[in-house]
């Protein structure tokens, strides 16, 4: 267990370095000048050059090294080692992800620092919803395969997977915000604002979890140890919830790692429809704006989360199912 943990932890920075290198190459090759406005006036050439000069965007190799130096925390360590440096250095964070080129008054750290907690909260709630809905639907379907309850849970799963979230989200908004006025449109910050977007975000995951649970349950329910339990006279509820679900949950658990990373780094569309100040929008907008620092900031944040969540799931897996450790 410990050896595995150490091995995996050593891998983390290597994986991130590879991701950084590939992202940097792709982002650098994006067409267009990040400092150009898409529309309207362009200043004279000498002014444009002065604007470009403030972010050493002239040399990709210099940029690659200096960004790595700043973002990895090495520069911070060096500054500390030298005893502080100037006041500008004192304000710099440990992992300095650089300035935002489009929204000049903000640093990438400030942007991600503001958006990530929002996405995590929304993601966690959505994950809880997805688990609750998915497990319930999956179990119900597996206990009575082919019954009307199974069919209707399958139908819900089908809708959850196939209807795009901008349709579901807009429909929920029109019903609950515009007609019933239970929640506010484009409002964020109180627990009530979480419900509709979390529900919208959870549906595709819920659908997938329902399918995984149902398949797992059907298989487990015909297993020998369940028959033994039934023969012993254990109540059906106890069999399903205590014995069968525990085994059928394993594939769901392995799915939860990537799902958690995905759900917590936000969904561009759900954030757009409900106007949530989360991280998802920056994935798309930073690329459209060719905002180099922001692109790399969000990609690195996302990959770090993905790697760490997968690691967590692997640990949980061993904890829940000791057979894996032995194998």
């Amino acid at each position: 267990m410990t050896a595995m943990l150490i091995r995996r932890l050593v891998q983390v920075p290597l994986i991130l370095l590879v991701i950084y290198t590939v992202t940097f190459a792709l982002a650098w090759l994006l067409p267009g000048n990040p400092l150009d406005k898409p529309e309207g006036r362009r200043p004279p050439v000498e002014v444009q050059e002065a604007m470009k000069a403030q972010y050493s965007l002239d040399n990709p190799f210099k940029f690659y090294i200096s960004y790595l130096d700043q973002a990895s925390g090495l520069a911070w360590l060096r500054d500390r080692g030298r005893g502080g440096g100037d006041e500008a250095a004192a304000e710099r964070p440990i992992f300095n992800l650089g300035p935002c080129l489009q929204y000049e008054d903000w640093s990438v750290n400030e942007i991600i620092g503001g958006a990530l907690p929002v996405s995590i909260v929304l993601g966690l709630v959505a994950l809880v919803f997805a688990l609750a809905i998915g497990l319930a639907a999956g179990v119900v379907g597996a206990v009575r395969p082919g019954s009307w309850m199974d069919v209707s849970s399958l139908l819900v799963a089908l809708i959850g997977i196939s209807l795009p979230s901008f349709v579901i989200g807009t429909a929920l908004l029109i019903v609950f915000a515009v007609w019933l006025e239970w929640v506010q449109v484009a409002h964020w910050g109180s627990p009530r604002d979480l419900l509709l977007p979390a529900l919208t975000l959870s549906l595709p995951f819920a659908a997938y979890i329902a399918r995984l649970t149902r398949l797992g349950m059907i298989e487990v329910l015909s297993a020998d140890f369940i028959r033994t339990a039934r023969a012993k006279g254990v109540s059906e509820t106890r069999i399903v919830l205590r014995h069968a679900l525990k085994v059928a949950f394993l594939p769901v658990l392995s799915y939860l790692g990537p799902a958690a990373a995905y759900v917590m780094t936000g969904s561009f569309i759900v954030e757009k429809v409900f106007n949530i100040p989360g991280l998802g929008q920056h994935f798309v907008n930073s690329v459209l704006n060719k905002d180099l620092f922001l692109i790399m900031g969000v990609v690195l944040t996302y990959s770090t989360m993905l790697v760490l969540f997968n690691l967590t799931v692997d640990i949980l897996y061993r904890w829940v199912d000791p057979r894996i450790e032995q194998a």
């Binding site: 067409p31 267009g32 150009d36 406005k37 898409p38 529309e39 309207g40 006036r41 362009r42 200043p43 004279p44 050439v45 000498e46 002014v47 444009q48 050059e49 002065a50 000069a53 403030q54 100037d86 500008a88 304000e91 300035p99 489009q102 929204y103 000049e104 008054d105 903000w106 640093s107 400030e110 942007i111 503001g114 958006a115 907690p117 929002v118 995590i120 909260v121 966690l124 809880v128 807009t170 029109i174 915000a177 515009v178 506010q184 449109v185 484009a186 409002h187 964020w188 910050g189 109180s190 627990p191 954030e271 757009k272 429809v273 409900f274 106007n275 100040p277 929008q281 904890w319 829940v320």
Partner: protein, 626 residues
């Protein structure tokens, strides 16, 4: 137990996160800006939404009247202009205060404008300050100084580099004081000397980049970079609680892509003119969500309606206006303005189902057009038929602009025959431009040597080679595509040429425009200040916005003469002549329609929205009737 622990942990995390965030507080006026603010540093601004906030938290020497755009006193209570039009002396009012209580002095303006002319600041509008005597020369001198710094500093220790950078900076500041026409005679007298007389100088001075900044605040966030020798700014000072302004409001909250809140500034000298005590600017990313938010009543003013169904909303408004046409005419005859008429109508005749009175289209200070590449050859080296003005005129005359406005865009835009919206600049009477006339278009094309010689319905030159396929470049969007398709069809039908649409991602299309890498390309231009040069300058040889690469010594000479002309009347006549040359004759671009801006607000509730094309809305003048 195993199952409960993670759940408890999860719930605790959630509760903590929810409790840590706080929802926004309601305000007297809530609106959705055109997009997130990019910067609140006035010298670095270039977006309309930024200027709108700047107008609330800063005040320049003068300000615009929001309805007429006449010049009103701001921080300066009066000013004198020398007879040669070159020297402006501003007398600052004694009761102008920064929001921390410091007096606003002439030195603060010198500080702010000097920042703009330092290339280190990377101010997008630095060239507006070239109008100051020696401004352009200083900007380029400092750039040269920074370039040599890198050479000189090579191999020096960091301490030495810092010293050298400081020496160079001191030198630059001295040089600025000696060579640039800007001086604070005392705390309340600012003397501005210009390179050439600029009749619209006061109009420029009301514009964002000329607003002052609080020097001690900015100075605390600026440091010299020993690697480049240039001044580097940390942007923390533009955010509360650091930001210190001198306008009607102070900034109390700014959360990136969430909200921005303004509170009345009690130290503002004209605090009595401020309508709402608090203003909340909400950021909404999605156009459809913005309309939904307006519908629920939580938004008083939606300042940009960009949903796909806006044309249908305009049609509903049209139905409302048609039903109330008689009463509306009556009120107009009584001398009421648009907003007053709409308020009376809202009271007397609420909209029926299928009608609406809360969407408003106002003419804007800009034009939608198509560029013709005017170079002798295309970038690829291929033959460029559009180098010939006759061809450009023929293509311009063969487009039925009314059909496009009525059937494609459907937003009631006025069709355009000139780049400058007619009547938008006082004292300037615009040219007529080229009107729709397909027969004339075919004649001009034939004069240029292109006619159908073999009866295949397509035009050829004398040697029989067909007109090159006309490639139309536009940035990816449904609207641009529909418009490009429409004019392509008109050219094929009226002129007998083949066309091809070239749709590119926005940034890519932008790059092609800058590099003149196109035949015909969609373009767009908004004026910055109230003078014809804000539109005409883009046709000057070598101008950074001359996407067409149009170059005509006669036009350049006319513009140069207008620069030197002291008599404002004569100057306007020269500019009219220059515009006529462009619009009636040279046709480097094909104006399609003048832009409109769509707002949503309830005319019975929101007061004092300006209908002036310049699109600035002073937030402190807006009021919501509850």
């Amino acid at each position: 137990m195993r199952a409960i622990l993670p759940i408890l942990l999860l719930l605790a995390l959630l509760a903590a996160a929810v409790l840590l965030d706080r929802p926004r507080q309601p305000a007297d006026l809530t609106f959705i800006n055109r997009g997130e603010v990019h910067t609140l540093d006035p010298q670095r601004m270039s977006w309309l939404q930024d200027f709108r906030i700047a107008d609330s938290i800063y005040e320049g020497l003068v300000r615009w009247d929001n309805d007429t755009f006449e010049i009103l006193p701001g921080v300066a209570e009066s000013w004198d202009i020398s007879a040669d039009g070159l020297t402006y002396t501003f007398h600052l009012r004694g009761n102008a205060r920064w929001s921390n209580g410091d007096p606003v002095t002439a030195h603060d303006f010198v500080y702010a404008w000097r920042r703009a002319l330092f290339p280190d600041t990377a101010a997008g509008y630095a060239d507006l300050f070239y109008r100051l005597r020696g401004g352009q020369e200083f900007f380029n001198w400092r750039r040269g100084q920074l370039a040599t710094f890198v050479e000189e500093a090579r191999g020096l220790s960091e301490v030495r580099r810092r010293q050298l950078a400081q020496q160079r900076l001191d030198e630059a500041r001295r040089r600025f004081d000696e060579t640039v026409g800007l001086a604070a005679q005392d705390d309340r007298t600012l003397i501005v000397t210009l390179e050439v007389p600029t009749p619209y100088m006061l109009d420029l001075l009301a514009f964002g980049p000329f607003m002052p900044v609080h020097p001690p605040t900015v100075e605390a966030h600026v440091s010299l970079d020993p690697a480049t020798g240039s001044l580097r700014q940390r942007h923390g000072w533009t955010k509360p609680p650091h930001l210190i302004g001198n306008g009607p409001y102070v900034l109390s909250v700014w959360r990136y892509k969430r909200d921005l809140r303004l509170e009345r500034n009690d130290r503002y000298w004209n605090a009595g003119s401020v309508g709402s005590d608090s203003v909340l600017c909400v950021y909404v990313e999605d156009a459809n969500t913005a309309v939904l938010a307006y519908k629920t009543g939580s938004i008083d003013w939606l300042s940009d309606v960009s949903v796909d169904y806006r044309a249908d909303m305009m049609a509903q408004k049209q139905r409302y206006m048609v039903r109330n046409a008689a009463r509306s005419d009556e009120l107009e005859a009584e001398g009421l303005g648009y907003n007053e008429i709409m308020a009376v109508l809202a009271r007397e005749s609420p909209p029926l189902p299928g009608e609406r009175n809360d969407i408003h289209a106002f003419a804007a200070y800009g034009t939608y057009f198509f560029n013709f590449n005017c170079q002798p050859t295309l970038n690829s080296g291929a033959f460029n038929p559009f180098k010939d003005a006759r061809v450009r005129r023929a293509f311009s005359r063969s487009v039925d602009k009314h059909a496009i406005v009525d059937r494609v865009t459907r937003m009631g835009q006025p069709v355009a025959h000139t780049l400058i919206p007619p009547g938008s600049i006082a004292g300037f009477s615009g040219a007529e431009g080229l009107q729709y006339d397909p027969a004339m278009a075919r004649r001009e094309l034939a004069e240029a040597g292109w006619s159908d010689r073999n009866g295949d319905g397509l035009v050829e030159d004398e040697s029989g080679s067909p007109f090159p396929t006309v490639e139309i470049l536009f940035p990816s969007s449904t609207e641009h595509k529909a418009i490009s398709q429409a004019i392509a069809n008109m050219w094929e039908r009226e002129l007998g040429v083949r066309t091809r649409l070239r749709e590119e991602e926005t940034k890519v299309a932008g790059t092609h425009l800058v590099e003149h890498n196109f035949m015909v390309a969609r373009g767009n231009w908004f004026g910055d200040y109230g003078d014809p040069t804000t539109f005409l300058d883009i046709h000057r040889t070598g101008n950074s916005n001359n996407d067409r690469n149009y170059s005509n010594p006669v036009f350049d000479d006319l513009m140069a003469r207008s620069d030197a002309e002291l008599d404002p009347e004569k100057r306007m006549r020269l500019l009219e002549e220059a515009e006529a040359m462009i619009e009636n004759d040279a046709a480097p671009l094909l104006p399609l329609f003048h832009q409109v801006t769509l707002y949503m607000y309830d005319p019975a509730r929101l007061r004092n929205i300006s209908t002036h094309p310049r699109l600035t809305q002073f937030l402190h003048e807006l009021e919501v009737v509850r």
